[in-house]
Amino acid sequence: MSKTDDRIAAWRARREQQQAALAAHGDLPIQLALIASRAETVGRSEDEASDPVLAMVLECVRAEPHETVGERRRVYDAIARGFERGIETGNLQSDYAELRRRQLRTIIRLIEADARSVENADFRVDYRPTGLNEALDPLIGGYRRRRKRSEEEESRQARRRAVLADEVYTIAVPEEEEGDLVYLRDLLARVDARRSAGAGRMSSHLRAFWALLPYQFLLLKSESRVALAWTLIGPAVLMGLLMSAYFLAGIHTILNMDVPTFAMLGSTSWFMLRQIIFRSTAAVHALRTLLNLRAFSPAILGLGQGLIYMCSYTAVYIALIGGGYLAGLFTLPASVPGVAFWLACIGLMALAIGILFGSIAVIWPYFSRFAPVIERALQMVSGVILVSEQLPVQYRWVVLWSPLSHAEQLLRSAYFEGYKSEDADPHYFFVWLGVLTVVAFVSQRLVRSRSVPG
C-alpha cells in the first residue's frame, strides 16, 4: 500500500471518528467532542487498571490548550461526559462503574493539583501525578471487597433458593480438590453400601452394647497402665493382709480351706465387687457425654462398665490362680463352673448396687462420696475375712443378713473340695439379687429424665 493510500485511510478513520463524536456529542465543539468520544471508549472498558484512564486524560489535556484553569476544566468536563456515557452504554456492573468514576475523579484531581502547583506543567508521556498510587490503591481494594461481598450475597441467595427447594447446592471446590471430593464421595458410597448390606443383622440395643464394650475397655486401658495393673495388685495387697493376719494367729487352714487360697478368693471377689460398684455408679451418673449418642442410656453405660470389670477380673482370677498354683501357693478349684457361676452372681449383684447408687447420685451427687463408706462396712460382714461357720452360732446373724456373705460362702463351697457351707442359702441370695435388680432398674427409669447429655 502506498503512502497516499495510508494517508487516505487515516483521513477516512479520522473523519469517521469525527462523525461518530459529533453524533454522540454534537453540542460540543469538534475537538471536545472527539475528547468525549475517546473517553467514552475508555469508560466502556472492563479493565480495572487505572493506567489507561490516566493515559487518556493526559493525552486529552496535552492535545488541547491547558494553560489556564478554565481551559483545563473544559477538557475535564468533556472527558467526564464521555466517560459517563461509556459507562452507561457499556452497561457496567454498578460497583465497577463506581470504581471507574472514582478513578477518573481522583486522576483529574491529582493532575489539576500538580498543574496548579508546578509552573508550565507539560504532562510528559511518563508523567504520573504525585501520590497517584496511594490515592488509587484504596479504591481498588475497596472495590474488590465490595465485589467479594456482592458475590457472597449472590451465592447466599442461590443457596437460599436451593434450601427452599430442598435441592443440592453445589459448593465451589478448587480444581486441585476435585479429586479429593470424588474420592470422598466414593468412600461414603462404600460406607453406605456396606451399612445397607449389614443392616438388620443385630438389634440396636445389642449393637450398642457390642460397640460400647471395646470402647470402654480402651478407655480403661488409656486411663493409665497402673489402672490395669491395679486390678491385679489391689487384690494381692488385700490377700496379703488377710493371709498375714491368719498366719500371725498361727492358722493355716480354715474349715479345710487353705489360708492363701481362702484369702485370695475373698479379696479378689471383693475387689471385683467394689470396682464394679464404683465404676458403674460413676458411669450412670457421670459419663454423660456418651448420652449424646441416642443408643446409649445411663443403664447401658453402667452395665457396660460393670461387664468390663467382670471380664478384667476373670483374667485376674486366671492369672492369680494359675500363677499361685504354679508357685505352690494356691490349690485349684474343685468345680470351675461353680466358681464361675458364683463369681458372675457376685458381679451381677455389684452391677445392681452400682446402678442403684448411680441413680441416687443423679438426684444427689454427693451420695457418691458415701459409696466407699458403705462398701467398707459391707466388706466387714460379707464373708471376705471369715465365713459364718467360724463364728459362734449366736453371732452368725451378724454376717448372714448380708446376701454377699451367702454368695462368698457358696463361692468357697464350689472352690474347695473339703468345705461345704452349712449356713449359706442360695435362695436368700437370689431373692436379694432379684429385688436389688428390680429396684436398680426402676430407680434408673425414674431418674432417667434427669440425666442430661453432657
Binding site: D180, L184, V191, P453
Partner: protein
C-alpha cells in the same frame, strides 16, 4: 417425623429448675428447621428432648427414621481414647465398616496424623473438624446440629460442605447455631421454642429478627426475670 405426645418436662439449668414443656402435643414434619428461642440456653435442652436423647418426665417422643447425635457437640470428644477408637465406636454403633469409615475421616480432616493420639490432646479446631467429619459417616433421616458449622475458608470446610449438601437433600435438619447466616444457608423454616410451646414459622428471616441467636443483654435480663420469681438478677 418427630411427634411429641402430651410431653411435660422440666430440667435443671444453672442450678434453677426450668419448665420446658407442659402437656405439649406437637408434630414436626420433615424439613429444615432453625431452632430458635429467646433464651439460647434452652435450645440445647429442647434438642435433647426432641432428639430422643433425654426422655421427658411425662409423655413420649416418637421419632420416625434414624436420627443423628447432635453433631458439633464436642464434649464426647474429650476422652482419653484416640480418634481411631472413636471412629470404631461410631462404626460399630451404626453398623458401618470400620476401615472405610477410618479412611473417610482421615482423608477429610486436615491433620490425619492426630487420629492415633488421645482426643483430649487435639487442638480445638481439629476436634471440631473431626466431629463434623464423623457426622457424615452414617446416613441419617434427621440431622441434629448443635454448633456452628465449619465456615472458614479451608479445604476441610469446602469438602465437608459439598458432602453435607448431598447428604441433606430430602432429609430433616434441626440446626441450632449462633450464626444467623448459617441458619439462613441451611434452614428453610424456624422451629421456635417459646413459653413451653414449639411452633413452626415459615418466615425464617423475620424469626431471626424476633429471636436473635445472641440476644441483647437487656433482652436476656427481661427474659430471665419473666421466667423466674427469684434470682432474676442472675445476669446483673
Amino acid at each position: 417425623m418427630i411427634d411429641l405426645f402430651s410431653v411435660s418436662d422440666a430440667c435443671e439449668l444453672y442450678g434453677q429448675d426450668v419448665v420446658l414443656f407442659e402437656k405439649l402435643d406437637f408434630h414436626l414434619p420433615a424439613g429444615r428447621y432453625a431452632l430458635l428461642s429467646h433464651v439460647p440456653e434452652h435450645r440445647r435442652l429442647v434438642m435433647d428432648v426432641i432428639g430422643g436423647l433425654r426422655p421427658p418426665r411425662k409423655g413420649s417422643v416418637e421419632i420416625s427414621g434414624t436420627i443423628s447425635w447432635p453433631i458439633g457437640r464436642n464434649a464426647m470428644l474429650r476422652s482419653k481414647t484416640s480418634g481411631i477408637h472413636f471412629i470404631n465406636l461410631i462404626a460399630d454403633l451404626y453398623g458401618l465398616d470400620r476401615d472405610w469409615s477410618g479412611e473417610f475421616v482421615s482423608s477429610l480432616i486436615s491433620r490425619p496424623d492426630y487420629l492415633s493420639r488421645p482426643l483430649f490432646s487435639w487442638p480445638p479446631y481439629l476436634r471440631q473438624d473431626f466431629s463434623f467429619a464423623l457426622g457424615l459417616l452414617p446416613e441419617f433421616d434427621i440431622y441434629l446440629i448443635d454448633s456452628m458449622m465449619p465456615s472458614e475458608d479451608s479445604r476441610f470446610t469446602r469438602l465437608w460442605q459439598a458432602l453435607f449438601e448431598q447428604r441433606l437433600v430430602g432429609k430433616t435438619l434441626i440446626f441450632s447455631s449462633y450464626r444467623p447466616k448459617q441458619l439462613l444457608d441451611y434452614c428453610a423454616k424456624a422451629l421456635v421454642f417459646e413459653a413451653g410451646r414449639l411452633e413452626i414459622v415459615s418466615d425464617l428471616e423475620d424469626c431471626l429478627e424476633r429471636f436473635p441467636v445472641r440476644p441483647a443483654r437487656e433482652a436476656m435480663v427481661d427474659s430471665v426475670n419473666g421466667g423466674a420469681d427469684e434470682g432474676g438478677d442472675f445476669f446483673l
